[in-house]
């Protein structure tokens, strides 16, 4: 894998996921998509906005899908620009890059995310069902309210249709009955849900405080450093 190189993407479709969150389905000009591993990101550039360094967005599609998708939360000038693109628009971006992926095909995999941090996890979950269906994968996904759950239908179907996939939704600002868990994700709940399926690999994705707190909590609960990998973003 080499350092990111730039290319031009065409916006093929824009899908509204939840209020303020959109998925941009992209391809190269010739209709193909670049190779990538679930968990990788592309850096998107919009120098006309005065940010020459670009912004990184995790890929939310799986490699076998016909388009490469990024899922964007409209929370600032740059992301608003992306969410305002139209079908057929061009975007300058890097080729897929990054190391936020599992190092194993067999260990129990715990995907822990908050809000828009679901983007790379969707890619990994769909890939896991397709490529390693016997692997135990558990998703621990935190949102403020039920309407904030991105990819809810897809996640529900993945959990219902695959006995090795478990989906745990957490809500922090709204009460809901089972199977939703009220309150924040913590190491005790994660490790308890995994039962005896140890050692597990933990991939954390979300805001910087979300990832930092869970990293500390898992470490305090005895999870070795090398079993935890992280991807965090500045969210305010």
């Amino acid at each position: 894998m080499s350092q990111e190189l730039n290319t031009r993407y065409i916006v093929r479709e824009i899908i509204s996921e939840t209020p303020g969150v959109s998925t941009l389905r992209l391809s190269l000009a010739n209709g193909s998509i670049p190779k990538y591993v679930p968990g990788q990101f592309i850096t998107v550039y919009a120098p006309e906005l005065g940010t020459p360094e670009g912004k990184a967005y995790s890929i939310s599609s799986a490699p076998h899908e016909k388009t490469l998708s990024i899922t964007v939360k409209d929370m600032g000038k740059f992301s608003h620009y992306l969410c305002s693109r139209k079908q057929g628009d061009e975007l300058e971006g890097s080729l897929p890059y990054g190391y936020f992926f599992s190092e194993s095909r067999t260990s129990t995999l715990a995907l822990v995310c908050g809000g828009i941090g679901i983007a790379p996890m969707r890619s990994m979950l769909i890939e896991a069902v397709r490529e390693t269906p016997r692997r135990s994968v558990a998703l621990f996904y935190s949102n403020r309210t039920a309407q904030d759950i991105i990819f809810k239908k897809t996640l529900d179907e993945l959990g219902e249709d695959n006995k090795n996939i478990k989906i745990f939704n957490f809500l922090t600002r709204e009460k809901a009955g089972p199977p939703v868990i009220n309150g924040r994700i913590n190491a005790k709940i994660i490790l308890g849900s995994l039962g005896g399926e140890q050692p597990a690999e933990f991939l954390l994705c979300g805001s910087i405080p979300f990832v930092r707190d869970l990293w500390r909590d898992l470490r305090a609960a005895g999870v070795p450093e090398e079993n935890i990998y992280t991807e965090a973003f500045f969210s305010h």
Binding site: Q3, I208, P209, V211, W215, E225, N227, T230, F234
Partner: protein, 145 residues
Amino acid sequence: MNTTDQLCADGTNWLYSDTVKDHFFHPRNILLDEKNYEADGVGVVGSPACGDMMAVWINIADGRISECKWRTFGCASAIASTSMMSLMATEDGGMTLARAKRMTPEAIIERLGGLPDRKYHCSVLGHLALREAIQDYEEKNVARA
């Protein structure tokens, strides 16, 4: 009473911990001239457009990182983070490659005594460059095998 060592120009406390300041003022394992340095793996990440560039050179002995050198065109946080990263990679006989691949910004920041959230990305550069250097080493060694 606060001393000038503990205060910013506006009288508020430093945003940076003593460990961050120590690694910024006294960076460990920095390589200023790589001309005569032979490395088993090299990683370069960053973008001149945003101003942060990072290069990491590693040497491997018995499957562990025996040396981890680096140089950056980055800010105080990038310098301190990468200095700490290089220390963590080589201490106690050196990290195994598998372990080094899983070094996280959270682990580096914890050892630094914290970093402001706005500086989180500075700690990402160092470990990404290390990861690239490991990849470079592994590709060369697969090619030789």
